[in-house]
């Protein structure tokens, strides 16, 4: 589904990704770990097409299409979803309106009609329940005055409604207490299926106790320097990142 080959990317003038390769197939869950400043978040933004995050070399194929050729919104409509580490507030725009506009944009791209408002309302309430958010949150401004944990659950709810093919979750566990973490993990696990791939970007292995990854990759210096299964994450937790970076160097 996602094939990243020798990707080089810069933010402003600074090259952050220096030849990163990654293969993700439908149905798989990948965890990308690494020390601070290794380029984990940058990878997510480059794939999502954030402004000023420039791919300067290599290639990215998404579902057989050249991802780097697409606009930000086109990537989203094709089914790439990025759950943000720090979701931004949009005052005055109700969550409900925002969500419906987004869902309709994706549906239009697939040649489907706009979703019926009543039906959508029902669906949105269901998803709210699934992530343990009161449905009053649908009426409030997007992330407006939400706590850190509420913002993260709101991201997850959006992901559930948009039903993307590829979910990239950027440090979704940061700022969550253990109960909230469990709720989020359950939500993500419920979305796992053979047609969907999930990429978890995380600093800590804690999240991986709840969402068992098929593959774990260590990102350092803008490249993936080691890949393995869940045991690699446990090893990292025990020993830190130092030994790998040394081993590779």
């Amino acid at each position: 589904m996602l094939s990243v080959k020798e990707l080089r990317a810069s933010v402003g003038d600074k090259e952050i990704l220096k030849g990163l390769s990654l293969e993700v197939k439908a149905g798989e869950v990948h965890a990308i770990m690494g020390p601070n400043g290794s380029g984990k978040s940058t990878l997510g933004h480059v794939l999502a097409g954030r402004e000023n995050y420039q791919a300067i070399g290599g290639s990215v194929e998404f579902d057989g299409k050249n991802l780097l050729d697409m606009d930000t919104e086109e990537r989203a409509r094709e089914g790439l979803f990025l759950a943000f580490q720090y979701p931004v507030e949009i005052p005055g725009v109700s969550n409900m309106e925002f969500l419906k506009t987004a869902v309709d944009a994706v549906r239009a791209h697939r040649g489907q009609e706009a979703i019926d408002s009543v039906q959508f309302m029902k669906l949105a309430r269901e998803k709210c329940k699934a992530v343990n958010l009161d449905d009053q949150f649908l009426k409030r401004g997007v992330n407006e005055g939400f706590s850190g944990g509420e913002k993260k659950r709101n991201e997850l709810m959006q992901m559930m409604l948009l039903e993307p093919k590829l979910c990239i979750m950027d440090e979704t566990d940061s700022g969550l207490d253990i109960d909230a973490l469990q709720v989020v993990a359950e939500g993500v696990n419920a979305m796992r299926n053979e047609d969907r791939a999930i990429v978890l970007v995380t600093h800590y292995q804690r999240l991986l106790d709840f969402i068992k990854p098929d593959f774990v990759h260590v990102l350092s210096g803008g490249r993936i320097i080691k890949s393995g299964d869940h045991s690699l994450a446990l090893e990292l937790e025990e020993k830190g990142y130092g030994w790998i970076t040394k081993e590779v160097a």
Binding site: E73, A76, F81, F84, V88, V93, F98, T101, A105, V142
Partner: protein, 482 residues
């Protein structure tokens, strides 16, 4: 306008032709220039009584001694008042476009986006529509219902003939003839406009809209509106519509006067979407408007405006809170794009005890436009316990536009409370990114963010107007990102 009324006016006009003292009565359009003869001509064309003519002349004489104001934060080439023509008869059917095929496709594209039905597009674009379709059907049922309630809603020209006592009593009572340069000019040469009278204790059974008057004689560039709400009455009035209207006149100088007697309530909503000029800032309407209302005891006047059009806007809908316990409100969204300039705001003049006013102003600047809020809150000596709350927010899109705030606060009463809050923000890249990552294109994203920003004002608009206003912002913001 019904046929009998038309006939009535025709008769009146004809009568005056016979008694005409002006030689070129044959002509339908005056050559450029303004002097007393021009005013006599206009008054004569409209078959006005002598008192009305005298009223106009007095305004004109005052105007001659006034100078054009220059304090507003706008720049534009000076208007040559002698180069304007002050009277032109409505275009004859023969001169109008025969069908929408003859209308500027750009205009049609905008109508399409605003979702305006085809027959309304024809009206707005000034197509010579079939008489069968004429607003008669809507107009007559509408009039009958109002008549039943005792509400008068007609053109100001008609009112001068039909209700001279009311017009004499209230015209110029809120905005005096020599109030300011443009108001004086308007008083001298006003073309037409609306007159509304709500009798004592009556709740007007429907929203009154200029829209219903659209097929009547063109109101022209010097529009004059007078609304009188008798004791304990209620009225909601809608001015303008979201569709851009074709208009060849560059200068618009309207005057609107509202009179809310004891316990009366007037809600006045405006959507202004005159031609803003092209992307390079060529052309466009100069909109210099004087709008003011006076509140008697426990009365309430609420102004809501959505201003997206015109090249230059100069407008301060105000409330004089003369009576005790009266309430003034001003809710405004002013959007400027490309090279548009707006200097708009309000004046709340607190004279009575325990008077209250609320000002919510949302300015949005995009392109290379300049958007200024200018507001005065005056607490007079007598305004015991008066309160004002002002919230003034500016939103910038891009980095070549400007937002300015000029608040004036004068308080002569120590018990009066004035609060002022102001914010300036930008549509952030992060907000756009979040929207785009969820599948919205940049323009849709900006429109969504801007609509959210304006929410407090939009909720004051009548329901269907609010939906249209949202769409209007979207269209007006086209090309502001990307």
């Amino acid at each position: 306008m019904s046929q009998s009324e038309q006939a009535q006016i025709d008769t009146l006009l004809k009568n005056d032709y016979e008694a005409g003292f002006y030689t070129s009565v044959e002509s339908d359009t005056l050559p450029p220039g303004l002097d007393e003869d021009v005013i006599r001509f206009i008054s004569n064309k409209k078959g006005e009584p002598d008192w009305m003519l005298e009223w106009r002349l007095e305004a004109y004489r005052g105007w001659l001694e006034m100078v054009e104001p220059e304090w507003a934060h706008v720049r534009y080439p000076k208007v040559d008042f002698q180069a304007l023509s002050y009277f032109s008869a409505p275009k004859s059917m023969a001169d109008k476009p025969k069908s929408l095929d003859e209308v500027d496709p750009e205009l049609l594209r905008t109508y399409e986006k605003l979702g305006i039905p085809l027959h309304e597009q024809e009206m707005l674009a000034g197509v010579a529509v079939d008489a069968v379709f004429d607003s008669v059907s809507v107009g007559t049922t509408f009039r009958a219902k109002l008549f039943e309630a005792g509400v008068i809603f007609c053109s100001i020209s008609e009112a001068v003939h039909e209700y001279p006592e009311l017009v004499k009593k209230y015209l110029g009572s809120v905005v005096p003839r020599k109030d300011n340069f443009y108001a004086a000019l308007n008083s001298a040469v006003f073309s037409d406009g609306s007159f509304v009278y709500i009798p004592k204790g009556v709740r007007c059974p429907m929203e009154l809209s200029t829209y219903f008057r659209i097929n009547e004689a063109k109101t022209g560039q010097f529009e004059r509106t007078l609304i009188v709400a008798e004791e304990g009455s209620h009225v909601s009035y809608l001015e303008g519509c979201t569709a851009p209207m074709r208009d060849e006149n560059q200068l618009h100088a309207a005057v609107v006067e509202l009179v809310a007697l004891d316990n009366a309530q007037i809600k006045y909503s405006t959507v202004q979407n005159w031609y803003p000029g092209d992307k390079e800032g060529k052309g466009g309407i100069y909109n210099f408007v004087t709008k003011r209302g006076v509140c008697h005891d426990s009365a309430k006047i609420s102004w809501t405006q959505v201003e997206t059009g015109s090249a230059v806007t100069w407008k301060y809908p105000s409330v004089v809170l003369r009576g005790d316990n009266s309430v003034g409100e001003f809710y405004s969204v002013a959007l400027t794009n490309n090279h548009q300039q707006a200097d708009t705001g309000t004046k709340m003049i607190h004279m009575g005890k325990n008077t209250r006013s609320t000002i919510i102003s949302k300015g949005i600047s995009a392109g290379q436009s300049q958007n200024a809020y200018r507001g005065l809150v005056r607490m007079s000596q007598r305004a015991e316990g008066a309160r004002n709350y002002t919230q003034c927010d500016s939103l910038l899109i891009g980095d070549r536009c400007g937002a300015h705030t000029f608040p004036y606060i004068e308080s002569r009463n120590p018990s009066a409370v004035v609060e002022h809050e102001a914010t300036t923000s930008k549509v952030s890249e992060d907000q756009l990114y979040l929207c785009q990552q969820r599948g919205l294109d940049a323009e849709k994203a900006v429109s969504l963010i801007v609509n959210g920003f304006c929410k407090e004002v939009f909720k004051e608009l009548p329901m269907e107007f609010a939906v249209e206003a949202g769409k209007l912002l979207e269209v007006s913001l086209e090309g502001s990102v990307g």
